[in-house]
Structures are given as C-alpha cells and as structure tokens.
C-alpha cells in the first residue's frame, strides 16, 4: 500500500515530537490506545492563562499513518482556544492526510487523544480554581 505524500512528509519530518512535564498545571496530557493493538498516542498541550493552546507535543507508537495523524494534530492545536480545539474531527484528519479506509482508526485515535488532553487540562484548571477558592 502506498502512503500519501502528506503522510510520508509527517513521518519523515514529524512536527512537535517531545514531552512536557505532566505535572505542570498548564499542561494537558492525553494517552490513548494500547500496545497490543499496535497504537499508542501521547498528545500534550500547554495552555496559556487566557485559555489558548500555546504549544503542543506528541509521541506515538504506531504505523506511519498514526504518527502522521498525531503530528498533524499538534500543528492544528497550536493557537487554538480549548473550545476551538474540541471542534477538530477525525474526518478532518482523514481528509488532510488522504488516509485509506484501513487507516481511519489512526485518525479516530488522534481525535481521542485531543479530547483526552483537553479533558485533562480542564480537570487541572478546576482543581486549581477550587484550591484558590478554599484558600480565600
């Protein structure tokens, strides 16, 4: 099976590979998938006090399409608000990367990773707000 040019480009030059400190309250981490299924994605976002995603990083265990899907996701996340980020759909990724049907699950996993990272940072913010309130 031949990969699309965009998948090959993301595979050869992955954007934003790396990690943030998981404990940082401004960082949201999403880890989805399972090793025995052949795909694990870790997606992290760093959110400004104004609620804008300043930076994003990923690490992925999976095929070329899984790597490309998560690499693309980090590019799209940067500069978005949390609400805007929540609008990213797996179908957008499928279209952009021209993924064949057997690789659609890679895009689904990327969407799941985005959602998990957003949920994580929101949870942290709630906790922070709660702590501030109780301190007052």
């Amino acid at each position: 099976m031949a990969y699309s040019e965009k998948v090959v480009d993301h595979y050869n030059n992955p954007r934003n590979v790396g990690s943030f400190d998981k404990k940082d309250p401004s960082v949201g981490t999403g880890i989805v998938g399972a090793p025995e299924c052949g795909d694990v994605m870790k997606l992290q976002i760093k959110v400004s006090p104004q609620g804008v995603i300043e930076d994003a990083k990923f690490k992925t265990f999976g095929c070329g399409s899984a790597i490309a899907s998560s690499s693309l996701a980090t590019e799209w996340l940067k500069g978005k608000t949390l609400d805007e980020a929540a609008q990213i759909k797996n179908t957008d990724i499928v279209q952009e990367l021209a993924l064949p049907p057997v690789k659609i699950h890679c895009s689904v996993l990327a969407e799941d990773a985005i959602k998990a990272a957003l949920a994580d940072v929101k949870k942290k913010q709630m906790t922070t707000v709660g702590e501030t309130a109780s301190a007052l």
Partner: protein, 406 residues
C-alpha cells in the same frame, strides 16, 4: 560493488528466477511449445522429454522416484490436494487430521474446510521456539486419525521441525504424514525416505524457479498413498491432477532444483554467516531486541526479530529502500498481528514490532552491512518518538498501565 536499491530481503515471500533457470526455460515458450500429452508428433515428444528430465532433477533433490511427483500450480494447490485428497480417499478409514497452529494458511484454511465437511482436526500448539513436539503428535493420534500435516520450516520464524521424528511416529501408528516443505526444499537437505514423509508440498518460486508451478510428492510404496483428485479432466499426472502441464515452468523448476542441489552445501553456510552477522549487528546496535523462533533449528537465511516499543509497519516505512515483511497487522481489518508469533506466546505488542528478514542467493555482505546501519538508525529514531520507550525508560511497567481500548 555499489549497492543497488531497493535491497531484497523478503526471500520467504518469493525469489527471483535465476538467470540460468530462465535460459533453459525460454525455448519451451517458442520453438519447443508442444503439449507433453501429445503422443503423435515430435513437438509432443520434445515436451514430454523435457518434463521427464525436470521430474528427474526434482526427484534427485528430494530423494524420491520421479514417478512419485505430481505437478501442480504451486504449494497452495499442493497443500489443498494433499489434505482434501487424503481426507476424501481415506474417509472410510477415519475422519481425524492432526496439524499445527503455526502452519501456513494454505494448510490451516484447508483443514477448516475439512472440519466444515465433518472431519475432526486437532491443532497442536508449539513451544516458545516454534518447534513441534513429536511426542505431542504421538499423543494426538487416535484410531480415527488418517493424516498428520506438519511443515518442515516455518515461513515467518524459519523454525525447522524434527520432521524425521514425526515421520517415525506416523509410521509407528500407520498414519499418513504430509509435510509442507515449501520453505525448506532447496535450502536445507530434504530426503523423503529418511524423513518418513508420505506426501510433500513444495514450489519452484521459493527456490529461484518460476512462479506458477509446484509439486506434490506422493509415495508409491510402503505405503502406496492414494489421493482423490480435486481437478478433473484429461487424467494427467496419473489421474491425480488433470490439466496441461506448463512445460516451460516445469523445465525451470527442474533446473532450479538441479542448481539448488549443487550450491546448497556452500550457499547454506554463506547465508547462515550473513544472517548471523545481521543478527549480531542489530543486537549490538540496539537494546531490547528479541529473536523470534529457534536460535539453532532454523533456516539458514531466516532472521525474525521484535524491536520493542516500535511498530513494525512504521519501521518498514523507515526502511523503504529495503524490501522486508512485518508481523504487524496495522493494515489488516482485524488489527490482529501475526498468528504464528502469537502461537509462540509472543505478546501482541512484540508481535506488532516484528520484522522478518529473508536472505537469498543474491544477497551480498554490503547489503547486510547497509541493512544493519539502517535498521539501527530507524529503530532509534522511532523510539525517540515512542511514548512506550519513554515510559519504559522512566521505569513504568507497561504491563500495569491501564490502556484505553476501542
């Protein structure tokens, strides 16, 4: 010598036709085009003579009588004919077949069809090294057993089974023994007498012959094996497989066997040395690399390795100028990785991370050195990208993590 790309390291899948083989085949496409079954003219006689010469060359390689060979379209058809032909012919005698979970799909899927037709099939499991235990075969035999089907060498992990011992078990109990020797013939010594094989499948294209022709060895005495034909027609091949013989392909098959017999002693040593160098280079350059299959009892040209924390298909993408095969199943609908590796007890994660290297007659030392370097680079790069590698390095036990599954 300058490297030529892509490098071919997928010899378990197929092999190129040896130029010497092609040369002897060519006249049989054009001026010597006769039908080997035409008894009344020189065209037919020339074709028949060529087929009989090839039959002799093939018989010499596996130590049988030329009359015991039935030509087929390839190993898949040979396996089908062996299992279905025996099951149908010996139905009165029994209805039980013994085979192994790591067999090729051509055997397993045929066995499944027999089950649908009411036969009982025992699928023996193998040890962690992929070897079939002859004692397990012995214990599985019942009064109703008519056939044992065990492969000579596995197509993924290259493990070579103790076929002679299994042949002895079969003979002791009077059960027919079929061996799918597709990966072994022409690579390692095969002797159907010494190995006690009654029926054996093999094919030309795995041994530098053409695609489209295979053979089934069918024993003629002690015991005389009978098969119900699965293709009816002109009664070719002693009635066991009708259809006009593909003379050029058979001629190529014969020449491929002749060359294989001639070069095997030196070639198997050369390939084993190159394979060992490949293994050593990879294991020296990387940590957490695991050998799949038996360390010693394996085909000289096979290496199968799992690279922990790296997905096989992604790795192949990084090795695009080397033709390889992976046990990963990222593109399959089920997302299930190699059933062979799973049968050995290899975890799904490591099965997804496996690569099969199949060296061949035209593999060079330079190609192996290049492959080592590229594999080490690609695995290292992907591990830098792998969340699993990061977690493992942080001391997280990946088996205790609660993963999200679809």
């Amino acid at each position: 010598m300058a490297l030529k790309f892509p490098i071919y390291l997928d010899s378990h899948s197929t092999t190129p036709v040896d130029p010497r083989v092609l040369e002897v085949m060519l006249p049989y496409f054009t001026e010597k085009f006769g039908n080997a079954a035409s008894r009344n003219h020189a065209f037919g006689w020339a074709a028949e003579e060529a087929v009989e010469t090839a039959r002799g060359q093939i018989a010499t390689l596996i130590h049988c009588d030329p009359k015991e060979l039935v030509f087929t379209s390839g190993a898949t058809e040979s396996n089908n004919l062996a299992l279905k032909g025996v099951a149908e012919m010996y139905r009165e005698k029994g209805d039980h077949v013994i085979t192994v979970t790591t067999e090729h799909r051509a055997v397993l899927d045929t066995a499944k069809r027999l089950e649908k037709q009411g036969l009982k099939v025992t699928y023996l499991s193998v040890g962690a090294d992929g070897v079939v235990d002859p004692e397990a075969v012995r214990h599985a035999i019942t009064d109703r057993t008519i056939l044992i089907s065990v492969m000579l060498a596995n197509n993924e992990i290259g493990t070579v089974n103790p076929v002679a011992e299994i042949g002895k078990v079969a003979k002791d109990r009077g059960v027919l023994f079929h061996c799918d020797a597709t990966q072994g013939v022409g690579k390692i010594p095969v002797d159907v007498q010494a190995m006690g094989i009654d029926v054996m499948s093999f094919t030309a294209h795995k041994m530098y012959g053409p695609k489209g022709v295979g053979a089934l060895y069918v024993r003629r005495r002690n015991p005389r094996v009978r098969l119900a034909p699965q293709i009816d027609g002109g009664g070719h091949e002693r009635g066991m497989r009708s259809g006009t013989l593909p003379v050029p392909l058979i001629v190529g098959f014969g020449e491929a066997c002749r060359i294989a017999a001639e070069v095997m002693p030196t070639e198997s040593v050369r390939l084993a040395a190159l394979r060992d160098r490949l293994k050593e280079g990879i294991f020296k350059g990387l940590d957490e690399v695991y050998l799949n299959g038996h360390p010693v009892h394996r085909l000289p040209h096979n290496l199968n390795v799992s690279f922990a924390y790296v997905e096989g298909e992604a790795l192949l993408m990084g090795l695009k100028d080397i033709a390889l095969s992976s046990g990963s199943a990222c593109t399959s609908a089920t997302l299930e990785p190699s059933y062979v590796l799973r049968s050995l007890g290899v975890g799904s994660d490591l099965a997804h991370s496996s690569i099969r290297f199949g060296l061949g007659r035209f593999t060079t030392e330079e190609e192996i050195e290049y492959t080592i370097q590229k594999v080490v680079e690609a695995v290292s790069r992907l591990r830098e990208m792998s969340p699993l590698y990061e977690m493992a390095k942080e001391g997280v036990d990946l088996k205790t993590v609660e993963w999200t599954r679809d």
